[in-house]
């Protein structure tokens, strides 16, 4: 690991100022991804600003504004605490399941909600500094495009980058229409809908998100919904636990009698960002919650898939996962 200066921030304003002034500084929260990347020489900050004393960890009901009746979680809250908070478990069980599907007990005790959003891809070509990678070293090429790409994207990739975004939490947030609150050095707050938070790689794969250097994630807001009774986060991976997704599906339904009133489908492990399937959701509205209709929706999602040399299996796996996730959601989240 390269030498760096460690600084502990006492308040958000000075932390943001320190980061803004130094393009080679990084915030340190849980550190579970950042320290690993520093050990691998992928990240090379000259300053770490430890923001774990800033508070910003509370989970609470939202009393005012457009998301009134929803729940807000602090950007620096631990993943374990978010997943287990009674407000989240009761009203957003999909999010609880997604967080608990990721990493391990130890890592979730360390990782923060904001840090989880900013996880970097686990593409092995990104991690291995002797390999070409446009995300790590723009202009060097993509090792995975013609390399071993079993774990990689089937949606939204570019010739510059075929990496997938690794978070489970964010897939549920995408299905739940979460809003990310950030603050900059001028003290201005802005709200970024989760759909606009992460980017597709295009010609700038080095940019994972639309966050500007110097901005701090203060909170993640969840609007109120009627999806808690019928939701499920399905994660399919190479081993039963503690592995990144081959494919994951966040599914949620609101029904009226036999009819689907509202459907949410978001996928993980398939793109450079959580992949929300709006068209397929629309297909389900007004239809009955039958296997045939779920199949049709799954076909619609996968119609846009462009598999690479080694990951065509994700197309069929994705279809079946969508159907199973929707069926499980209908069953009150019981597999």
């Amino acid at each position: 690991m390269r030498p760096f200066t460690y600084t502990r921030a006492n308040d958000a304003t000075s932390a943001i100022k320190l980061l803004t002034e130094n393009p080679n500084a990084r915030f340190l929260a849980g550190g579970t991804n950042l320290l690993d990347l520093m050990k691998e020489d992928v990240e090379r900050p000259n300053t770490l600003i430890d923001i774990s004393d800033l508070g910003l960890a509370e989970v609470k009901s939202i009393a005012n504004g457009v998301n009134k009746g929803g729940v807000s979680m602090g950007g620096l809250g631990k993943n374990t605490d978010a997943a287990n908070h009674p407000l989240i478990r009761q009203h957003y069980p999909l999010l609880t399941q997604a967080i608990l599907a990721g990493a391990s007990g130890q890592l979730r005790n360390m990782a923060t909600n904001g840090g989880n959003l900013l996880q970097r891809t686990r593409c092995p070509y990104f991690y291995e500094v002797s390999m070409p990678c446009n995300k790590r070293a723009p202009g060097t090429g993509c090792g995975a495009r013609e390399g071993i790409n079993r774990m990689h994207a089937i949606f939204g990739w570019s010739d510059q980058c075929v990496a997938v975004y690794p978070s489970d939490m964010a897939v549920a947030l995408a299905a739940l229409d979460a809003v990310v609150h950030v603050r900059n050095a001028a003290g201005q707050e802005r709200q970024i809908p989760i759909a606009d938070f992460h980017r597709l790689p295009g010609n700038q794969p080095e940019k994972d998100t639309n966050l500007v250097h110097g901005e701090l994630i203060t909170a993640i807001e969840l609007p109120p919904n009627r999806l808690a009774d019928k939701s499920y986060y399905l994660k399919v991976r190479d081993r039963a636990s503690y592995a990144f997704a081959l494919v994951s599906v966040a599914a949620a339904l609101e029904t009226e009698g036999a009819m689907i009133k509202q459907a949410r489908i978001a996928m993980g492990g398939v793109a450079h960002k959580p992949w929300r399937a709006l068209k397929a959701e629309q297909l389900l509205v007004g239809k009955e919650a039958t296997e045939a209709n779920f199949n049709q929706a799954a076909e619609a999602v996968m119609a846009d898939a462009k598999p690479l040399a080694h990951n065509a299996f994700k197309v069929e796996l994705g279809k079946r996962s969508i159907v199973l996730a929707l069926q499980t959601a209908m069953n009150g989240g019981k597999l």
Partner: protein, 260 residues
């Protein structure tokens, strides 16, 4: 030579050495040998000879070295030095560390607490699991600098004097290890995991996460899921699950290795 080691062999060590290599003893005593060299020689002497002397050898090899006060380099000698004060197993420790030093390295290399193991050093194996402020975390991904004012508990802090922690007893009873490298991490993780369950925390395999009252009930499937961050290359998982199940249930659990 480390200053905390006694430079002379003890009488027991001399006797053991004399039995193993009688022709070399006087020469070595004349030229002087420290205990660490002796222990290295003992290791090189190999299992066969050791086995014959195992009772004495085990007694000697397991004798802890005199606890070392952490040696403090002057802070001026480190470019990115950080002063940090934190509790380790109940004792306040003050260190000046390179900002890059992980908690795992500080425990092992500076505080001589080598129970916590460095497996992958990338947060993928769980061998380095310790508890910080009561929560299980990975010490290989924790900067020592970030531990200011915190309370760290390691495997060395679980037993009370000669009385093992119930989880340690259960791992012995159920043979919850083969090579033992992952064991300190497994035990620390299991102790903290039972505490999480007692607080009612859910897991990915919990049937209904919306139900938030009371402690979590731990089936073997629940234990496996909650312990998935601790990898065991020897594959002692059935025994580890049985050990944890015994401590969780408070009732004797059948030893899995006897039933196969």
């Amino acid at each position: 030579m480390d200053e905390h080691e006694s430079p002379e062999l003890t009488e027991d060590e001399k006797r053991l050495f004399a039995n193993l290599m009688p022709e070399d003893l006087s020469e070595i005593l004349d030229t002087g040998v420290n205990r660490r060299h002796f222990l290295k020689l003992m290791t090189l002497a190999g299992g066969g000879i050791l086995a014959a002397q195992s009772a004495v050898a085990e007694q000697l090899l397991t004798r802890p070295l005199t606890p070392a006060p952490a040696i403090e380099p002057a802070s001026v000698s480190l470019d990115n030095a950080v002063n940090v004060s934190f509790k380790v197993n109940g004792t306040v420790r003050k260190l000046t560390v390179d900002s890059r030093m992980t908690l795992l390295d500080a425990l092992r290399e500076r505080l001589d607490l080598t129970g916590s193991k460095k497996g992958c050093d990338h947060g993928q194996c769980g061998a380095c699991t310790v508890m910080v402020n009561g929560h299980r975390v990975l010490s290989c991904l924790t900067l020592t600098a970030s531990c200011e004012g915190k309370a760290v508990q390691t495997i060395e802090g679980l037993a009370k004097n000669d009385t093992l922690h119930p989880m340690q007893d259960a791992f012995l009873k159920h043979d919850g290890f083969q090579c033992g490298f992952c064991t300190p991490g497994q035990i620390c993780s299991a102790v903290a995991m039972l505490d999480e369950a007692k607080k009612g925390q859910a897991s990915y395999v919990t049937q209904n996460v919306r139900q938030t009252t009371g402690p979590a009930r731990l089936s073997n499937e629940e234990i496996r899921e909650r312990m998935s961050g601790n990898i065991c290359r020897c594959g002692a998982y059935p025994n580890i699950v049985a050990a944890i199940q015994e401590v969780y249930s408070g009732k004797p659990v059948e030893q899995v290795f006897r039933s196969v």
